[in-house]
Amino acid sequence: MTLTAPAPAAETPRSRRRAPRPVQRMRDTYRRYWYAYAMVAPVVIVLGVLVGYPLARGFYLTLTDANSLNSARTIGVNTIDATYKFIGLDNYAEILWGPAAYDRFWSHFVWTIVWTVTCVVLHYVIGLGLAMLLNQRLRGRVAYRLLLILPWAVPTFVTVFAWRIMLADAGVINSMLDTIGLASPSWLEDPTWQRTAAIMVNTWCGVPFMMLSLLGGLQSIDENLYEAAEIDGASAWQRFRHVTLPGLSSVSSTVVLLGVIWTFNQFAIIFLLFGNTAPDAQILVTWAYRLGFGQQPRDFAMSAAYGVLLLAILIVFTSFYYRWLKRNDQLA
């Protein structure tokens, strides 16, 4: 797998001369780039209508006290107008330092961080381990590979239910634990075990992607580097540390970023594993969803405010990550 180098600028404007006056310059820009703009127009319009407008609307909702009782709605033939009012930044204040801030926001925030870090580390470590095992001359390699990506091939909404049956109180996992004489935890009821179960299922689902990406990365490392290292007397660990890991750095930086974003945003696994139970195992995304759609009355404003905060967290994280990558000179 080759991670593509920056695109060569094929059709850069022929000359870089400066247009003298603003009007002239605008006309110039237009003439030079109109086809580029025409080509990106469909996506810009789609995103403007489907993302930009709802985003602005959502942000406005966070400044109100909208819920399902005062929003505009239609019951039969009657249309009821919205009666919610503008309350400024009160929602944010309540979330971040209101009386229930710890129970409702910060506890979930901490759990979300723990969840994201744990899952991504497990994905990466197990994925790398399996990728390295698969990257050798080995009988049955293809078969192993096919079996190992099964959790990714089967849709998540199917496999989560398989796990739910297996983790049920008298399900197969607890029967097995019983047989070998271990305590059988109530995976789907006890908060700590709920969290463990969620991490377990997500790890199971997420490893194959990491494994395949890293396997691709491993295969693109030049064999000669290992040979040279060996001639220089490098131990296995040194070869791993100084040849394998640097060779994987560009793939790793990509998959770790994707992993963090996907795990942080992971909705289906927690939502389907616990249904409407398990308040303590909810990460911020599912918690926000529950405020907006899993309770009565539905608290639209609060849910949207959580959404905005989530987005802010992701943006901050991503920009720091990019800056960090750039500083380490890993962005080709």
């Binding site: 197990i126 399900g171 296995a236």
Partner: protein, 291 residues
């Protein structure tokens, strides 16, 4: 999930790819255990789908003696299975068509042309893919209720497009990057307009890339849970991701029927996935970060 084989991994002799008998055996054991863990939940689901009673999952030993395909025939004849199939195909197909069509030209423009706003567009495309569902779901729901798009497949297609369109643009950009620029130049010299170059030269070459984008869009829309669960109300309009949940309510959990339905859904998707997965990995990682 307790196996962490990475600790043994670096010890092997990479250069010649030959392992000692111990290393060989260790590798096989680790991989076999990992494969078993990967396989087991699926096998278990298939096995449980053969048990006729909804509580059979509690005493799985008994299923062996009374295994039957009754659940399957019940699901196919007495549930909304085919309605769900139709809904899923409409939503996933619509999303794919709309997503790939609108994204193709953008992917090309972003790959080949440098224009004012190029960088910010790339940022927007990247960022929108990372949107948590919680950001858009509330305002979308509000807007769609007013437009009467809740409980409609069109509404769901539009919602899915918020992530699919930027994603496909990125993926296609990555693919266009791999097509030599010299081709474009040759086209231009022969007098083609930028649109002509795109349409006649590059698009035909990009067919594999389009296929991967289409496949990924399809699978994503197919497996989308949050929006579908919220926006679809009428149970004959459910997609599979919602329909499957409907077997499990607080009052009654029909695990056996759920398992049979799950197997019916999973088989074609899984086969389909295996056929194209190699390309998907490349597409996903190439589209992820590199600009």
């Amino acid at each position: 999930m307790t196996s962490s084989p990475s600790t043994h991994a670096p010890r092997k002799q990479r250069r010649r790819g030959d392992l000692g008998p111990v290393g060989q055996a260790g590798t096989h054991v680790t991989l076999a255990v990992a494969s078993l863990i990967a396989l087991f939940p699926i096998v278990w689901l298939v096995y449980l789908s053969l048990g006729p009673d909804k509580d059979d999952y509690l005493h799985p030993g008994g299923i062996f003696a009374k295994a039957t395909l009754d659940n399957y025939s019940f699901v196919l004849t007495n549930t909304e299975f085919f309605n769900w199939l139709w809904s899923t195909l409409v939503v996933a197909g619509g999303t794919t068509l709309f997503g790939v069509m609108s994204a193709a030209t953008t992917g090309y423009a972003v790959s080949r042309m440098r224009f004012p706003g190029h960088r910010s567009l790339m940022w927007v495309l990247l960022l929108t893919q990372a949107f948590p569902i919680a950001v858009l779901i509330v305002p979308m729901y509000e807007i769609f209720s007013q437009l009467r798009l809740v409980d409609s497949h069109l509404g769901l297609i539009l919602v899915n497009c918020t992530t699919i369109v930027p994603y496909c643009s990125w993926l296609l950009k990555g693919y266009f990057d791999t097509i030599p620029v010299e081709l474009d130049e040759a086209g231009m010299i022969d007098g083609l307009t930028p649109f002509g170059t795109f349409w006649r030269l590059i698009l035909p070459l990009a067919r594999p890339g389009l296929a991967v984008a289409a496949f990924y869009a399809f699978i994503t829309a197919f497996a989308e849970v949050a929006f579908a669960s919220t926006f679809l109300l009428d149970d004959s309009k459910y997609t599979f991701a919602v329909g499957l949940q409907s077997f499990i309510s607080e009052h009654d959990a029909q695990w056996n029927l759920m398992a049979a339905t799950a197997v019916l859904i999973a088989i074609p998707v899984t086969i389909f996935f295996y056929l194209v997965q190699r390309h998907v990995v490349t597409g996903l990682t190439a589209g992820g970060v590199k600009g």
